[in-house]
Amino acid sequence: MNIIEASGLSKRYGSTWALRECTLAIPAGHVAALVGPNGAGKSTLLNLAVGLAEPSGGAVTVLGGLPAGSAAALDGIAFVAQDTPLYRNLSAADMLHLTRNLNRRFDRHYAESRLSELGIPLNRRAGKMSGGQQAQLALTLALARHPQLLVLDEPVAMLDPIARHDFMALVLTAAIDDGVSVVLSSHVLAELERVADYLVLLAKGQLQVAGEVDDLLASHRMLTGPTPLADRYPPGPVVNTRRGEAVTHLLVKAGADDPVPPGWEAHSVGMEELALAYLREPGAAALPGPSRGARPSEVAR
């Protein structure tokens, strides 16, 4: 099952294309990271997926083919928007009760015990909470709905490092223990590296990279060699070149078994390195062929 599937998805605000011809299938059972510079279309893609925005072209379905924004889709998706908007004059208890009334499922026991673990008093107003507490409350409300898909738009942008760590820990717990699929957008690459196992990279409203992190890392290598030899490397698979005076680093599309040219050293890459290389080269792309369906193991979750 694909948790989000977009075909030719486009969104235009006025004369600006926020998202253009995006074709993408994120399989269920992943923590998928949506990465890209400001204005790349991350929020637009997420807003389209949760039904807050209507596409200008193409289509997006969720939870295995449900139209985005339909009643069944809203029922199965929990969304935490950027800056975690909450009713500032409502207490945590009120927000719990509100969310319970607005949804078919709401696990009050889970929400209350979660808030007490976090040390957020039930009678505290959302407006009086720290940014970290607001984010935790919004996430708790979302998870208490027992969604199939949790969508987070820049959830940790406003948080200090500790709050960021705690927040991501809760997301990861939900993903591992409850099998919630997660799609989150973020700038904080280091944070994503720890949690994400699926990477989607957007640049200027277009899809640049999409795939499982393990597959992407296995098919890319960092080559280090003398700068004078850098141009001799066949340019085709080179994603990004970082030229020093003596030494040059090339990020190339190559597996562990591919031959390394003489005089060069090959290293495996991390997700942050990989993402940075692509972010520096908006023209490069690493996309799967025709969208693959989910593997049986994922459906079982």
Binding site: L52, L98, G179
Partner: protein, 332 residues
């Protein structure tokens, strides 16, 4: 963390039952209780005042006005309390506008301004149902509260009507009586809700609501209401006191001659009867002028009430439907 496994649910289950409507009741109450309490306090204070002041009025009327229009009645009743009545009706005229501005306008504008619509519209309730559940419930509650106030006001106003101080058709009281008052309240709320959704900021939406409402109320009272039904005509009029005179003029020899007030009438009178030893009416009659009046008889009061309430209700439905449509269409 409680380890729970997701229930396996087939995608797109057609038996998916929506969240029941009544759940919206608590949501509305919790989110708008301050505004509703404000309305209750306002209308409650108005009610207490109308009740106490009304008892006084009814006593004074019973004591002084054995025959309406008598000198005693004029001196001890209308002369003494008339100004109070004018102040009360002026204040009540503003009540629907205040409700529309301070309850109606923020309902959607605050969600848009603070970004909480991103929360509200992605819950399982669904954004269209959420908007309907909010707006329709609040509209009904406010209209009911307004109707209660209107009943009390019509009791309060009765001695003034009986004493011939004000007719129910008067622009000062017509929209405070009967079914017009709740209808105007409803329209004010609907204007506020739609303005909030269009403008998406609370304070400008409040201002816009006050302006639009005032314009509509003024247009209805001054231009619209007299045309609900074709007025009746009377010459040499001796109309009952409850009739609402819409227009009057003079004819001579079967043709329109003069308006019934203004400088032309004055100069004509000065020419015809320079001695000024008769009343203007007598003067004109003796010179062959016929006085005409077009009027709405007092018996049409309830017909006019229902016509006004009817178009206001239709307008409110359209405005609320437009707000709901915008909620559905509005992109994040």
């Amino acid at each position: 963390m409680t380890a729970q496994t997701m229930p396996v649910r087939p995608a797109g289950d057609p038996r998916l039952r929506p969240v029941p409507w009544h759940r919206m009741a608590w949501v509305n109450w919790r989110q708008h209780r301050v505004a509703l309490a404000g309305v209750a306090a306002l209308l409650g204070a108005v009610a207490v005042y109308l009740w106490l002041s009304g008892l006084q009025l009814h006593h004074a009327y019973a004591a002084a006005c054995h025959s309406s229009g008598s000198l005693a009645c004029t001196l001890s009743f209308t002369g003494r309390y008339g100004i109070t009545g004018i102040i009360v009706t002026t204040f009540l005229q503003a009540v629907p506008a205040l409700i529309g501005a301070f309850v109606g306008a923020p309902v959607l504008a605050r969600e848009m301004e603070t970004g909480t619509f991103r929360y509200a519209w992605t819950q399982g309730f669904g954004r269209r149902r959420w908007a309907i559940g909010k707006l329709v419930t609040l509209a009904i509650v406010l209209a009911a509260a307004a109707e209660a106030s209107s009943l009390l006001f019509s009791w309060y106003d009765r001695p003034f009507v009986a004493a011939g101080y004000v007719i129910p058709f008067s622009a000062r009281v017509f929209d405070l009586l009967g079914v017009a008052f709740p209808a105007w309240t409803l329209a004010a709320f609907a204007i506020g809700a739609l303005a909030g959704m269009l403008i998406r900021r609370v304070v400008p939406a409040i201002a816009a609501t006050l302006v639009v409402y005032a314009g509509l109320a003024f247009a209805a009272a001054v231009y619209l209401r007299q045309h609900y039904l074709a007025p009746l005509l009377a010459s040499k009029p001796n109309l009952p006191g409850s009739a609402w005179v819409v227009n009057e003029w003079f004819t001579k020899g079967g043709h329109y001659a003069l308006p019934a007030r203004g400088p032309r009438l004055v100069s004509t009178l000065q020419n015809l009867c320079p001695a000024m030893n008769t009343s203007p009416a007598q003067c004109l009659t003796t010179h062959g002028y016929v006085h005409w009046e077009s009027y709405q008889p007092g018996s049409r009061f309830w017909t006019f009430q229902w016509i006004e309430a009817g178009w206001l209700l239709a307008l409110s439905v359209v405005l609320i439907a437009a707000a709901v449509w915008l909620v559905r269409r509005r992109a994040a």
